[in-house]
């Protein structure tokens, strides 16, 4: 007979309403065998008591429902963001608070490079360093011989030095959108959007997609999750060729790999029929720790990049409407084909016009063929109004709301992109609750840092960087936010029968916390200390 381990804890938050708080949880064969008091559990027979967590709080392993594997690999480059961060290997990176800090950080990084290596840094956020823009002169002061590229935190911009500029022949005004010019009329080093960044990235070998595919990145990604209490994470877009699937199976199978990984097939990289065939082919390759078979569809761009598809009255600052990635009519066809085949779709929609198009496509598909067995999810779903939540409810569609946006981009949305009316209702968790739409909240790491308890803090407090409350009404309670980052996320990944709560028969996946999120106070939710996780009964202490 299999062995039973019983973990004791100061408090166990189960997310099981029949038994919300217990003192002990028993694990057998990687699954939750029993919860309750030690006396209750003892009647099942022999057990080993593990008191490692006697003064800790145990809750269900946290679930990040939308992020990208690159969140691991990006740490290959030097971090120059404003917030303090810890990398996957436990190294602390204090935030850079001034341009002098940036200089010092880059100087230090430069000493560790070989003679021919470019210096690449990431995470830079000019919003915080307001005195002036970073430009090529700042970077020339670090090195005049080595190409330098500083990728901004939103991945839409980079600043490079003169050496990098001349590698790509960016030496005079070339009349290209996105190559910013200085007062003297020559490129000042700031490059906007992919077309302008590509020549530099190509010459410096900055291939962000490849970065996510490497073994090192997938391993580092597991550590990123572990550090923030995450035991299940969804990689929201991947080409998933066979060799990558083999490697992911291999990496995730290792006993020390601390998460269950879902990876979604890019639904816009091939004709609809081929997407269907490939998704059906991938599904049986799933294992306990690797889940495949769902499809990602990207309909529009991003609000902060002015590329989201927004309904009338469009952008607050008058910028033209954003971009579609698929013709709405074509979306209707694709959605119907995948839906009929029983394939779960995660549909990226930021703007309310994109949300409307996605809901229309789902309505057509579901009217023809209901398939109540599949839960489709609108990803980001940032600008949905209440009528759209009602429609989601009617259609049985879930939402994954981008609550981190409230903090990181909320001020910009209020002042520039969509204006107060729509900014105050964005990422509307309360509306999701009002209309009983299954929902979770996410980071889209590495776009914003992964940390579900921080994301929960955003949903609860709705504070922007400048301290503005972005819509009182859409705030939710701590209990609701904790539900969103556990069972809510599990539902959107169609795994709520396996993970998301500490209940008999589910995987013994836990987040081990130093503080009690239920009592620490709404304003402190992001400060909850994390010991590590337990996955299928195995302890993974943060190292």
């Amino acid at each position: 007979m299999s062995a039973t381990t019983v973990f004791s804890a100061k408090k166990i938050i189960t997310m099981n309403p029949a038994r919300p708080h217990v003192s002990h949880v028993a694990v057998r064969d990687g699954k939750v065998f029993a919860t309750g008091t030690l006396e209750e559990i003892a009647r099942w027979g022999d057990y080993t008591l593990d008191e490692t967590f006697a003064d800790k709080i145990i809750m269900p392993g946290l679930i990040e429902g939308h992020c990208h594997l690159m969140a691991g690999g990006i740490w290959k480059y030097s971090y120059v963001g404003y917030q303090d961060r810890v990398d996957p290997d436990g190294k602390s990176w204090p935030g850079v608070k001034t341009l002098e800090n940036v200089h010092a950080r880059l100087k230090e990084a430069e000493t560790k490079l070989g003679p021919d290596e470019p210096l690449v840094a990431w995470g830079f956020d000019p919003i915080f360093l307001m005195d002036r823009r970073l430009d090529r002169n700042d970077l020339d002061a670090v090195s005049k011989s080595r190409p330098i590229a500083v990728v901004h935190s939103n991945f839409h911009l980079m600043t490079v030095n003169s050496t990098a500029l001349s590698l790509a022949n960016y030496v005079a005004d070339m009349g290209v959108d996105g190559i910013a010019l200085g007062a003297d009329g020559t490129p000042n080093g700031e490059l906007q959007e992919m077309a302008a960044m590509f020549p530099i990235m190509r010459r410096l070998g900055i291939n962000l997609r490849e970065l996510g595919r490497t073994r090192a990145s997938i391993v580092a990604f597991g550590k990123v999750c572990n550090r923030v209490g995450v035991t299940t994470a969804a990689d929201l877009i991947n080409d998933l060729p066979d060799e990558d699937v083999d490697e992911m199976q291999d990496i995730t199978a290792a006993a020390d790999y601390p998460i269950r990984l879902l990876s979604l097939l890019n639904g816009l990289a091939q004709p609809a029929d081929e997407t269907r065939t490939r998704a059906l082919e991938l599904k049986p390759k799933s294992t306990d720790k690797l889940r495949l078979g769902s499809v990602k569809i990207v309909t529009d761009g991003s609000i902060q990049g002015f590329t989201a598809r927004i309904r009338w009255p469009h952008h607050y600052n008058g910028a033209p409407n954003g971009i579609w990635n698929i013709v709405p009519e074509q979306l209707n066809t694709l959605v119907s084909i995948l839906h009929d085949a029983g394939i779960q779709m995660h549909i990226h929609t930021n703007g309310d016009e994109a949300i409307e198009a996605a809901l229309e496509a789902l309505e057509i598909a579901k009217t023809k063929n209901n398939r109540p067995d599949i839960l489709h999810v609108l990803q980001h779903c940032q600008m949905a109004d209440r009528a759209q939540f009602r429609k989601m409810k009617k259609l049985g569609v879930a939402a994954n709301l981008f609550s981190n946006h409230i903090f990181y981009f909320g001020d910009k949305h209020y002042e520039l992109t969509i204006g107060p009316d729509r900014a105050l209702r964005m990422d509307a968790c309360q509306s999701a609750i009002d209309y009983d739409v299954p929902f979770t909240i996410h980071s889209d790491a590495p776009v914003t840092p992964m940390a579900p308890l921080f994301t929960a803090w955003c949903a609860v407090n709705r504070l922007t960087e400048s301290g503005r409350v972005l819509g009182e009404y859409e705030k939710i309670s701590v209990a609701e936010a904790l539900q969103a980052i556990t069972l809510g996320a599990a539902a959107t990944l169609q795994m709520d029968h396996e993970v998301g709560s500490i209940e008999v028969g589910k995987w013994a996946d836990f987040a081990i916390l130093d503080d009690d999120p239920e009592t620490i106070g709404a304003e402190n939710l992001k400060n909850v200390g994390i010991w590590g996780t337990v996955l299928a009964g195995d302890k993974h202490e943060i190292r």
């Binding site: 996105g178 959007e193 020549p199 070998g205 091939q270």
Partner: protein, 311 residues
């Protein structure tokens, strides 16, 4: 990364869903006139490109997935462009079949920024039969407008099935959005490769190829010009910009008054590009130009005049 010894000409083929982009691509691959064409497909809504055309070795196809920068970090674009640029053997032409909702200007920006690419124009196909209906969808009307206004060459397709009135209405509507680009009516996506990619006038291929390739294209005229005199590049640029839309494509190699070496020029619509010929080449101080224009527009007459006025 491979360093190319001359930039790869990139043509963006844009047009809304169902306009006939893929049929045109198939036609161009079938009549490639010996050029190796790499097609970057960004549209999965229309018919697929004929497999046998790809396998016939005058074409290679790379797929380019759509995605927003926030989720894909531009990864798809990076992969597609670097594959095209590093491809061996290097292609002669890069044709991007943009998705039905792509804004061609954004894609064209890649060719303007990347030193190993040169923009060979934005060609937009319009469906003569469906244009009105598509335009009436407010979700995409701005996209269709952007595709037409960015075009350097406009193709009104399915003209054989359109009525006279339909044709006139579509042309009028298109002209409201873009008054300067040449507008050519085509049927079944058939267009000579020389018009799509421009006439061949590379240093390797002088003297100019014979006119036989155009013989089945009755609606076009061609013109060529040769001079021993050096040319003022700025005057040339301004003159080319002022030419009427009946001039579809113009290419040339020439010697400049102000700088040494050999230079190339190509024009399609409002897009005029002048650059140095990077390979060692000495055409004995002769400048040569070739153009393709609409028939019955006195092409030779006014081009001869415009070029002789350059001095």
């Amino acid at each position: 990364m491979n360093q190319r010894d001359k930039p790869l000409p990139m043509t963006v083929l844009s047009g809304f869903l169902g306009a006939g982009k893929t049929t045109l691509v198939n036609h161009l691959l079938r009549h490639s006139a010996g050029q190796k064409i790499m097609v970057l497909v960004n549209d999965f809504g229309e018919l697929p490109i004929d497999q046998d055309l790809i396998e016939a070795e005058n074409g290679d196809v790379i797929t380019l997935a759509n995605g927003c920068a926030c989720c894909s970090m531009g990864g798809d674009l990076y992969k597609a462009f670097s594959t095209a640029l590093d491809f061996t053997p290097p292609p002669d032409q890069l044709l991007i079949e943009a998705s039905g909702v792509a804004e061609p200007k954004r894609i064209a920006n890649f060719a303007k920024a990347e030193p190993d690419l040169t923009l060979n124009g934005i060609v937009t196909v319009i469906d003569a039969l469906n244009f009105e209906e598509m335009q009436s969808d407010p979700r995409v009307s701005d996209v269709i407008k952007a595709q037409i206004s960015a075009a350097h060459l406009l193709l009104v397709n399915k003209i054989d099935r359109a009525s006279e009135r339909q044709r006139a209405e579509v042309e009028a509507k298109v002209r409201e959005i873009n008054a300067t680009a040449p507008l050519v009516a085509i049927a079944n996506g058939a267009l000579a490769s020389e018009i799509f990619f421009g006439p061949k006038i590379t240093p390797d291929e002088l003297p100019m190829i014979d006119a036989a390739h155009l013989s089945h294209e009755m609606q076009f005229d061609r013109w060529s010009y040769r001079t021993e005199e050096k040319i003022d590049a700025e005057m040339l640029r301004n003159m080319l910009r002022s030419l009427p839309p009946s001039v579809l494509r113009l290419k040339g190699i020439f010697c400049r008054t102000d700088k040494p070496g050999v230079w190339t020029v190509h024009k399609v619509g409002s897009h005029v590009d002048i650059g140095p010929v990077s390979r060692a080449f000495n055409p004995a101080d002769t400048s040569e130009f070739v153009a393709i224009g609409m028939q019955n527009t006195n092409l030779s007459q006014f081009l001869d005049k415009a070029f002789s006025n350059l001095k």
